[in-house]
């Protein structure tokens, strides 16, 4: 009906502002510089740690020396590796379930106000219950296997996923939704092409928090009743006043959390390169 005539613009396109994207190499070097700050600080902490133990200001069973802690790694590599794998499995399973169920619940709540009114207060209430306090109950219900540990990890990680999912899905521009309603697209299409991408930045922030909480959840589950995993290693080391081993387990736990966090950070680079939080770095 309407004939589109090809025509060159009569006016020079005014105000063609285009900001240059930083090159990949520059971004990479920036990332290295950014890593330098915490690395220097960490080195200082280790030096202070060394000095405190070398001058024998405190007893070795209170704070072991860096060398003793390192020895714990080198003397019992198989032992630590075996228990690390157990905790890693529990953490990953807990995180995956929390992420899937959390996103699903967030979607249901955003699309149904009845569901939200019913379950949001309950989820909030469940979040307030200290997970550590109910962990023994899970052992009673589920036994000493991996499932109670996974369950505690799920419960810890679930909440930030739901909250960030809901607020992310709500953050979509209402005018954009009105626009899609004039396009006659199905709700599924609108969800996949508009709502979900718009929710990703907040959702990924929630997942980063959830990742670190999942590690905590798994270890807490192990504290309550386990014969394997880093939580078990910590309890054993504590019983033997083997503080060096305890430190070693703590370091592995932290690394596990940091690693999961970093994986999601990398995923962000690919999933939301357009988002301000990624563009304004450095």
């Amino acid at each position: 009906m309407t004939e589109l005539t090809r025509q060159t613009p009569t006016l020079p396109s005014a105000r063609l502002v285009r900001r240059a994207r930083p090159s990949r190499r520059r971004r990479a070097s920036r990332g290295l510089v950014a890593a330098l700050y915490p690395a220097v600080f960490l080195a200082l902490v280790v030096v202070a740690w060394f000095l405190v133990t070398a001058t024998e200001m405190v007893e070795p069973y209170i704070i072991p020396s860096p060398a003793d802690t390192w020895a714990a790694f080198t003397d019992y590599p198989d032992y630590l590796w075996e228990h690390t794998l157990v905790t890693t499995r529990e953490t990953l399973a807990g995180f995956a379930i929390a992420a899937l169920v959390g996103v699903l619940v967030a979607v249901l709540m955003v699309y149904s106000s009845t569901l939200e009114k019913t379950f949001y207060p309950l989820i909030l209430f469940a979040q307030v219950i200290p997970k550590i306090a109910i962990a023994p109950l899970f052992v009673v219900w589920l036994g000493f296997g991996t499932s109670p540990k996974i369950l505690v990890a799920v419960l810890m990680a679930f909440f930030p996923v739901v909250i960030s999912g809901i607020s992310g899905l709500r953050s979509v521009d209402p005018e954009l939704l009105e626009l899609t309603s004039t396009m006659g697209a199905s709700p599924v299409k609108t969800f996949l092409k508009v709502r979900l991408p718009a929710a990703l930045p907040e959702l990924l922030s929630g997942l980063k928090v959830a990742a670190t909480l999942a590690v905590t959840g798994a270890v807490v589950g192990e504290f309550v009743g386990a014969n394997s995993g880093l939580g078990y290693v910590i309890l054993q080391a504590n019983g033997n006043i083997d503080t060096a081993m305890l430190f070693a387990a703590l370091i592995i736990m932290s690394l596990l959390g940091v690693l999961l966090f970093a994986v999601i950070q990398v995923a962000e680079m690919f999933l939301i390169p357009w988002h301000a939080s990624r563009r304004n770095r450095g």
Partner: protein
Amino acid sequence: MAAETVDGAARGAGAPSDAPMVDIRGLDVTFHSKGRTVHALSGIDLAIEPGEFLTIAGPSGCGKSTLLRVIAGLTEATAGEVTLRGTPVEGARRDVGFVFQRAALLDWRNARGNILFQAEMRGLPRAWARERADALMEMTGLTGFENAMPYELSGGMQQRVSLCRALLHEPDVLLMDEPFGALDALTRENMNVELRRIWEATGMTVVLVTHSVAEAVYLASRAIVMGPRPGRIIEEFPIDLPGHREYEPTLESPEFRRVSGRVRELLGSAAHAE
């Protein structure tokens, strides 16, 4: 193929060629919020002819945006009849193109991707859509910016992308809600000239809401002035200016000055009436 892009059934059904594109009779819109009732529009009668460029000017709160939203089916009429191309407006209409004051682009897609979004949501043929998107980008001066992300574009360029998106599916009516309100004066003038040129080239029906008197008179083949509380049409002006309008000569012409002077007067008294 291009003609099939808008649902063919509605196009053929009961829309004689001399019928108005948009027909509004006795339109009333009231909103209820927090126990208060706001009478947004009252007794609106308006027929918009095919190929017309209608501008609606009025002070803020006069319901001009609501009127536009009612035509698109985004806001429901409380009373009265609204038909678009002969079919009653019930729910959001697919046969319109809508441009908001903010470009409302998808942050994660480049300029071309944002324009093709329209085609993807409607399930239009991919190759056809791509070709048309390229032609539209050329027409609106976006050539060279096809792959630019929204955050790399200035406000004026973003609004051009939004305009291309609204035109992609060849809608019969282009509805624009203060599309250039957020732009600086110079960009705004350029966009006015380009929009006018696009309208001349396509012959489509355009309804544009604005609070700028110059914009309302320069662009229009007919201008409507609305007043607030309740929103109603105060007066309408057929604009007796040449079809092709150079910007500055038009603004200096006696007819432009006469009409815009009168519109400004009406807007002034409408504002004082508050």
